[in-house]
């Protein structure tokens, strides 16, 4: 068996890869559902209905997709420059912490000003957090995967310390949660009586902006050249380290924005269980989207659908809802193989 690079990749193949990967993951996980004793087809039917079957389900899925689009973009931007940012979870929490720090009454501005200010502060927090590992990578050659992973734990403990200490809401009956953001910093609802908020629009705009940066600017060209061959890029005069640091700011900033959007749009305050792994989900989304910023929107919808749908399925046929995490992880591994098949042709002799 050997692999032969394709000279041209047809568009249908690029689109078929994520679909095929997710489908394969569903087929593989059917065994796990059957093991629990639930009827597989009915279970998957419940999952689909729970994710996209009603107006309420759809808005829930879109709400879930909002932070995932942003963390997906964060991973996609960084991976494009071969900066392996696995710290999306930590950047998200630090962004959320920064958002409640400035958004809960420290500064008072009218809403059209306050919302962008709070979001920029959150982005700065997330971006600066990733700047450390990026700096260690470019200066000392320290592998950024391990440092960003370890920082996730450090940030969570830091947030926990803040929520039990100086930033604890005195009105919260002793629960470790932050004071709520002021009403001027709250993101307005898109659909009344649902949880869907303006964050979705911001996330979609961010995806478009990242797409423009990636494919229409010099910076985007530099990102792509550093990602495909840093040595060649350096010879061509691209300031490789400087590009990596700017990518770090952008990537961490996007993850920080995800945290801000959650506290400003969905929860109103920060708790330690705000994110069920949105940062790690971003990695899956970036790969499913093959690092395409616009593709991240579709991929985030899919992953959000799996999570929301799995909750409905879990209630209906008593399959543990961890099946969603299994489905998403299996999709990631299938997608990696799928991307290989897109780029290469398998020859059996």
């Amino acid at each position: 068996m050997r692999l032969e690079a394709r000279t041209a990749v047809p568009l249908w193949l690029t689109l078929a890869a994520p679909a095929g990967a997710v489908l394969t993951a569903f087929v593989l996980c059917a065994g796990l559902i059957a093991w629990s004793g639930a009827p597989v087809l009915e279970a998957y039917g419940r999952l689909l209905a729970g994710a996209f079957g009603s107006r309420f389900a759809l808005t829930e899925t879109l709400t879930r997709a909002t932070p995932l689009i942003l963390t997906g973009l964060a991973a996609a931007v960084a991976f494009r420059a071969k900066l392996w940012n696995i710290g999306g979870e930590g950047q998200l929490y630090l962004g959320a912490l920064a958002a409640v720090a400035v958004g809960s009454g420290v500064i008072s501005l009218p809403a059209p000003l306050l919302i962008p200010v709070v979001m920029l502060v959150a982005m700065a927090a997330g971006g600066l957090l990733l700047l450390g590992p990026a700096f260690l990578k470019t200066r000392l050659g320290v592998d950024e995967v391990v440092t960003t992973l370890l920082l996730n734990f450090i940030v969570l403990l830091f947030v926990s310390m803040m929520l039990e200490g100086p930033m604890k809401d005195p009105m919260a009956m002793g629960w470790p949660q932050s004071a709520p953001v002021v009403s001027d910093a709250e993101l307005p609802r898109l659909v009344p009586r649902t949880r869907l908020h303006l964050g979705l629009v911001i996330a979609v705009l961010a995806a478009v902006a990242v797409w423009v940066i990636k494919s229409r600017t010099v910076f985007g060209y530099e990102i792509r050249s550093v990602g495909s061959n840093p040595r060649a890029a350096a010879f061509a005069g691209v300031p490789v380290n400087w590009v990596v640091l700017r990518v770090a700011l952008l990537s961490g900033g996007l993850a920080g924005l995800a945290g801000a959007s959650e506290v400003m749009g969905r929860t109103g305050y920060l708790t330690l269980d705000m994110s069920p792994g949105y940062g790690y989900g971003g990695i899956v989304i970036a790969m499913l989207a093959q690092l395409n910023p616009l593709g991240c929107i579709a991929a985030a919808l899919l992953v959000a659908g799996v999570f929301v749908g799995a909750d409905a399925m879990s209630r209906a046929v008593a399959v543990p809802n961890y099946i969603a995490d299994v489905l998403v992880a299996a999709s990631l591994l299938c997608m990696l193989v799928g991307m290989l098949l897109v780029r290469y042709r398998l020859r059996w002799r």
């Binding site: 370890l150 734990f153 310390m161 990631l332 591994l333």
Partner: protein
Amino acid sequence: MDIFLDILISASLWATVLRIATPLILGTLGELVCERAGVLNLGIEGIMTLGAMVGWMTVYQGGDLWTGVLVAALAGMLAGLLHAALTVPLGLSQHVTGIGVTLLATSLSYYTYRLVLPQATTPPTVTPFQPIGDGSLLGSLPVIGPVLAQQTPLTYFALAAVVVVAWVLHRTPVGLAVRMVGENPAAADAQGLNVTGVRIGAVMAGSALMAVGGAFLTLSAFNAFFFNMINGRGWICIALVVFASWRPGKALLGALLFALFDALQTRLQQVSGAAIPYQIYLMMPYVLSIVALIVMSRRAAYPRALMVPFRKGER
């Protein structure tokens, strides 16, 4: 200062150090074997979780303790095979594949645990490995006897594993093959070695060690399985491999040093009371790992072919 000295010479501190170090020794050794063969295994966090769950579940379902350890090792090998199959013959990104293996192994463990025990609010327990006791040969030694007596058989397994891995890696043809495919796979191939086979074998063996490290937590340190119980230990092991310069002896030293810091901070926390938030203490292991990476970064002699996929006949 007196308090500090008292803590340092107490047998209970050193007994704690060995207990904290055991999963780190096994995880670091496992990762070291993988990396020596040229494969970064970021599946470690998930593989340790899988080992912890599978080992515990085997015993909970009526198996004896050593059967639990064996089943955990086999589960680890399977997860290692998955990682190796994707990264070695297919040459996929070792970073992303490893994260994928961690996500899959972790979620599979949680799914299985919840499926078997749907309504467990307080985690059910098993009878774990017992300390070898004062009456044993090691326990009756002078000075270090009390420390050794408090350890369970799995800790001795981990210490023996250090010797075995060091011996195999540096004194046997198998070890030479493993190191060769990690340094210069093309040369190994020219010697007639099956690079793909050696790498897959090394990743599977290393993953088995990681899984036993996870099983230590549920079958020896504690007696139940908790969600998030690995809590970043796998990532710390990856930092320890760099700290140890890919040498088994130094890996043992690094794990012990690390465990000493961890044990000391717990003691200091008890002494200092609430003056410093407890989260600061809990952060120390992760901060220390990053510091270790920074300190070693200038001297780190990575295996030359680490993260470089090998395809026969390609330059």
